[in-house]
Amino acid sequence: MSVTAPSTVEQSAPTQRGAMRAPRRMAWRSRGADGPTREPGQRSLLVRALVVVIVVVWSLPTVGLLISSFRPPGAIATSGWWTVFAHPFEITQWTLDNYIAVLGDRGMFDAFVNSVVIAIPATVIPISLAAFAAYAFAWIDFPGRKPLFALVVGLLVVPLQMTLVPLLELYVRWDLTGTYLGTWLAHTGFGLPMAVFLLYNYIADLPKEILESAYVDGASHFAAFTRLVLPLAAPVLAAFAIFQFLWVWNDFLVAFVFLGTSSDVAVLTAQLQQLVGTRGESWHLLTAGAFVSMVVPLVVFLAMQRHFVRGLLTGGVKG
């Protein structure tokens, strides 16, 4: 056994996911083969059944929402979504009207565009500022860098709520409420400490020799940063970008406070919350609206699950 384990590690080394799973999986199988096991079949059947039950329970709420969003209003109000399984191929019970209604009159289309306009710069701006700052903290010696960095990390503890009252007063005075810029900057300010902290941990660990040889070759700090550090830090940049994007896209509090709910600027979460307030029992609108708000994060998540998980594992926990 001690012979097989290392070789599996080597084989699966190229793919990160394989490397995470394969060694244990192999070990597990060989355990089953020659260990003193009792009824391995039954036991694993029980485990498998439990896993399936949990997976089903976890998925039902979302599945119910998705199915309902394609049913006509009358049907949603009078029968449970599970009744569609009685005759799933009866085409008349499915409709796209809910989506048309919610994207048209109910402002979800505008809100969708607003969410895009908020989320992309609110991801790029903090990550850029944080990368510059993390590089300087890690590789440039300047007076006050240690206390400043400690301050940034210390501010990780501050809950958002701590800042709302003074910031709102400031925003009203500077006429920043309800503007894209104000919301980008708010998300940037709140996201920065975590971004600096994460990027610093990665950038400070880059091999010293690479950067030093670049400096000796006459590279300025700016060149070293843009040509060397940014490409090398791509994995952690990607991980943080996904986090920040999902966080901003899904945020309700910041958008509600600084951007508001007027239809020019309201993002999806705010619009959906309005819908719950005004049409709380119109489930055909709510289900379709909720799904419109979820579709981008779901796609991002499914497409980039690997980066997302890696980000989680390196401590991408939003404070």
Binding site: A136, V216, L313
Partner: protein, 397 residues
């Protein structure tokens, strides 16, 4: 050879007045363009004027006049200004950095420029952190001790710690923290251990993980639907009440019965957070050396004993990290209560929703500030443990 390159590059970037003026001019121009575009984005009709102006410029006076009269269609206006906003937001920050860096290179000598450059790098980030976190934090602390006339007072804290409605909010927060945190951690670690030994592990994990990408508002809508209630005799469209009535019981108006409703909201949080716990625990469990597990198994330990006595103690640090992270997320819970509990009705109020109400509905900034300070006081020790833990071992793996 390297020395030569260095000299060369130094020479290349030696300041000359002409270049310096040009570089600073570019920087100022970028600032001006960004400044103008901020005003542009605030004005919904501005995009129409720009399009009309462009059309006139290329000679299409007719279409330009049409746009000036009737305006663009809402959709194209929306998409157009969205495109401008994206270019400004994403490009602006980089344009500023590059231009400022050029200006420094062209203006100052080698010594000075290397003294200034770190501040160009950390300055914008630090500035925003000061503006958005440090100063407002001090402002909130100040306000929490200040009465309407500007004098010192403890009345906001007295209210926060003694008023019956606040005590209810604190009770709810404690319920959230205890049941939400333990629920997410227990289910997370249990599922991580189970899923470690089935085929298609990644697929199974995705299902549990998926809710993590859903917003709290979206999750609130999903679960309001699960908890939906109709009076007895009418068909139940909510899953839970359909099951309850299916067994022959009366339907329960889950979201308006206290304290049941608070527990119903906690379930939503557990549903959202378990995936996060599970992923990190799963990686931690895989990093337990298989020799140790092997040895225990050879000694005759059953699966459950191995899990309880070997795996759990070995991932203790990870459990602490995950628990503190979830604890803090739950402490600040706002959206779920705001949307599902309709702003904390039916006794679902928690500290964060009350703070929001004091701020927006009652305009009582002193009380709102005091509540925020109380949240901070609870967060600090937990976060300190968390950051230490993260620094010491890295999370998870």
């Amino acid at each position: 050879m390297p020395v030569e390159t260095r000299a060369e590059s130094t020479q290349r970037t030696t300041p000359r007045p002409g270049r310096s003026v040009a570089a600073i001019g570019v920087l100022l121009a970028i600032v001006a363009v960004l400044w103008w575009s901020v005003g542009f984005l605030a004005d919904p009709a501005a995009f129409d004027r720009v399009v009309a102006g462009l059309l006139r410029f290329v000679g299409a006076d007719g279409s330009a006049a049409a746009i000036e009269q009737r305006g663009l269609t809402p959709v194209s206006r929306k998409l157009g200004s969205a495109a401008v906003a994206l270019v400004v937001g994403v490009g602006g920050v980089w344009a500023l950095f590059v231009a400022a860096n050029r200006a420094i290179d062209a203006t100052f000598g080698l010594r000075t420029r290397e003294k200034i450059r770190p501040w160009l790098f950390v300055g914008p980030g630090i500035g925003l952190i000061f503006l958005y976190l440090l100063l407002p934090m001090l402002g909130t602390i100040y306000r929490s001790f200040t009465d309407n006339d500007g004098g010192f007072t403890l009345s906001h804290y007295q209210f926060a710690l003694t008023d019956p409605s606040m005590l209810l909010a604190f009770r709810n927060n404690v319920l959230w923290l205890v049941f939400g945190t333990t629920g997410s951690v227990l289910i997370g670690v249990g599922f991580a251990a189970l899923v470690d030994r089935v085929k298609r592990e990644a697929l199974a994990k995705s299902f549990i993980f998926l809710p993590l990408s859903i917003s709290f508002v979206g999750a609130s809508v999903i679960w309001r639907f699960v908890y939906a209630w109709q009076p007895e005799g009418q068909p139940q469209t909510g899953l839970i009440n359909a099951i309850i009535t299916g067994f022959g019981f009366e339907p329960v108006p889950i979201l308006s019965l206290s304290p049941l409703n608070t527990f119903a909201l906690i379930v939503v949080m557990i549903w959202l957070q378990t995936g996060f716990a599970m992923v990190i625990f799963s990686a931690a469990i895989k990093s337990v050396p298989s020799e140790v597990i092997e040895a225990a198994r050879l000694d005759g330990a059953g699966e459950f004993v191995v899990f309880l006595r070997i795996i759990l103690p070995m991932i203790r640090g990870t459990i602490l990290t995950v628990a503190t992270a979830i604890f803090i997320a739950i402490l600040k819970v706002f959206d779920i209560v705001w949307v599902m509990g309709r702003g904390g009705n039916f006794d679902t109020e928690v500290v964060a929703t009350r703070m929001f109400k004091e701020m927006f509905q009652f305009q009582n900034f002193g009380r709102a500030s005091a509540l925020a300070v109380l949240l901070l006081l609870v967060v600090i020790p937990v976060m300190v443990v968390n950051i230490r833990n993260m620094n010491r071992q890295g999370v998870g793996a």
